[in-house]
């Protein structure tokens, strides 16, 4: 198991897993970056979007990627609504308030899933479920699609945040909403949009994940924990950092699984997380800065 072929598979599958992780994390990263809010409802959004894809697939036979055309805009609206009705009222309060409020929203989301779909496990039947592409090792097309999104997501988000007015405004509101107001930016409207975009990104990720995993109402909770680790590793503030954090975890877990034990995967990623934070308090980006 120490030959170069194994190493090649570790790298390929590690990077692909990193892509999955990155896709999961963008929504959370954006909302944190713009609002300094750790969105504890993120996992519920992933989960509900995956269920939505499941429902559209079983009812109308829609492919999840097609279903996302419906799901993503609706999620944007839901995100805006959630912000305007609830989050807006605690966002400037004590930090724990928004945390708990969104935790509550997550619970409600989970309960909704239990009521509609029960606690049973569901999965989407896709014709290309088992289709693979040969890259030296057989690589599932579903994971390639997600990886593509992860890369495109990084580039698009970076461009959005740095090169568009709305994106810059989001970053400004993140750091000082009062100053943003004085510069003629409506902090409320921009935050609502950011929350909407974050929710939509999370929903899209949920749709993608529905192609890989069995869905149940608890499905988001475990993923959520991992997404936190990723955005923190990524320095909490940078989109490139998210990708770097995700790839690091993906590679580390795959290597741990192959060269160590399968049960070590999570352990290794948590130890790595603590190790990096302790030596580099700003997360991965601080490797590139001085």
């Amino acid at each position: 198991m120490t030959d170069s072929a194994t190493l090649a598979s570790v790298v390929i599958f590690g990077v692909l897993l990193g892509g999955v992780y990155a896709a999961m994390a963008y929504g959370l990263g954006l909302i944190y970056g713009v609002m300094r809010i750790v969105n504890l409802a993120h996992g519920a959004v992933l989960m509900l979007a995956a269920y939505a894809a499941y429902a559209l697939n079983t009812r109308f036979g829609l492919d999840p990627l097609v279903a996302s055309i419906v799901i993503v805009p609706i999620s944007y609206g839901i995100g805006m609504l959630l912000y305007s009705v609830l989050v807006r009222r605690v966002v400037h309060g004590p930090p724990m308030a928004s945390l708990l409020l969104l935790f509550g929203v997550g619970l409600v989301g989970r309960n909704i899933a239990y009521l509609i779909w029960t606690g049973d496990d569901r999965s989407i039947a896709l014709s290309y479920n088992l289709t693979t592409v040969d890259l030296g090792v057989p690589v599932p097309v579903t994971k390639l699609v997600i990886f593509g999104f992860a890369l495109a997501g990084t580039a698009a988000l970076y461009a959005f945040l740095h090169w568009t007015h709305t994106g810059r405004a989001m970053r400004a509101v993140a750091r000082d909403p009062v100053a943003a107001e004085l510069a003629g930016l409506s902090a409320d409207r921009i935050s609502a949009r950011a929350f909407g975009v974050g929710t939509a990104l999370a929903a899209f990720a949920g749709v993608l994940l529905s192609m890989l995993y069995v869905i149940n109402p608890e499905f988001g909770s475990a993923l959520q924990l991992k997404t936190f680790c990723i955005i923190v590793l990524g320095g909490m503030d940078s989109i490139g950092g998210i990708l770097a954090g995700a790839l690091t975890l993906g590679l580390a877990e795959t290597a741990a699984g192959v060269y160590g034990g399968t049960a070590w995967q999570d352990l290794v990623s948590f130890i790595l997380l603590v190790g990096i934070l302790v030596t580099r308090p700003g997360g991965l980006p601080s490797f590139f800065r001085r």
Partner: protein
């Protein structure tokens, strides 16, 4: 009248920061606001720009009441406020500060404004793509003022103009503000160094514990005993 403030009262909970303040500002004027610490200068600016809720009385800008308007709405009417404590956006670059503030300004005008600002603070050009968090205190103050100017306002409010700026910069700044004022922007500036400031202002107000106690032209202020004692003693 461009700005007219009538019986303005503002309170922070039980603390009354302003008590029945009334005054008018003409278009294109340049006014100075002075007063001891805690006298309510910042509060007055905050009330005008919408950061502090108007408790009593009213403020009209170009005939329109500002009561109940959000700060960003007031900003888009043409009032820019350079707040106390700079309030720069730490993770945005110098350039992005100016871009954001000047987003609504037509491109040609925006370019000219940015050129003006950079001419005024050459230091900013040197730090053009640096995150504002890593600027020195004075550099941050330059960014804050630059951001106010970039919005191309009709009325510019500056709180603590010279705070933390080296004398050489303060001198340039006063000269620049004269220039800006000359182009038709009305100024309302809070400044403690009255000596220098009075030389550049057309009118001055002095606040004490939330009420206007003295106002007049620079000469009248210089002649006032109260002002001499508190502000011009050195």
């Amino acid at each position: 009248m461009m700005l007219s403030v009538r019986d303005l009262a503002v309170a922070y909970g039980p603390i009354r920061a302003l008590n029945g303040v009334s005054f008018d500002l003409e278009a294109r004027t340049s006014a100075l606001l002075a007063g001891a610490n805690g006298s309510g200068k910042s509060t007055l600016l905050r009330a005008i720009s919408g950061l502090a809720a108007i408790g009593g009385g009213d403020i009209h800008f170009e005939g329109r009441s500002l009561r109940g308007l959000a700060a960003h709405q007031i900003a888009s009417l043409g009032i820019a406020h350079v707040p106390e404590g700079r309030r720069i956006w730490p993770t945005l670059t110098v350039r992005e500060h100016l871009q954001l503030a000047g987003n609504h300004v037509p491109t040609a005008r925006r370019r000219a404004l940015v050129d003006d600002i950079v001419g005024l603070f050459p230091r900013l050009k040197e730090r053009w793509t640096q995150d504002a968090a890593r600027l020195s205190g004075g550099e941050q103050q330059m960014v804050a003022i630059g951001r106010g100017l970039a919005a191309d306002p009709k009325l510019l409010l500056i709180d603590e103009l010279s705070l933390g700026l080296a004398p050489v910069v303060v001198k340039q700044l006063f000269a620049a503000l004269d220039h800006i004022n000359g182009q038709g922007v009305a100024l309302l500036i809070v400044e403690q160094a009255l000596h220098a400031a009075l030389a550049h202002a057309r009118y001055g107000y002095v606040l004490e514990r939330g009420t206007l106690v003295v106002h007049g032209t620079p000469d009248q202020l210089r002649a006032s005993d109260a002002v001499r004692k508190a502000y011009l003693s050195i």
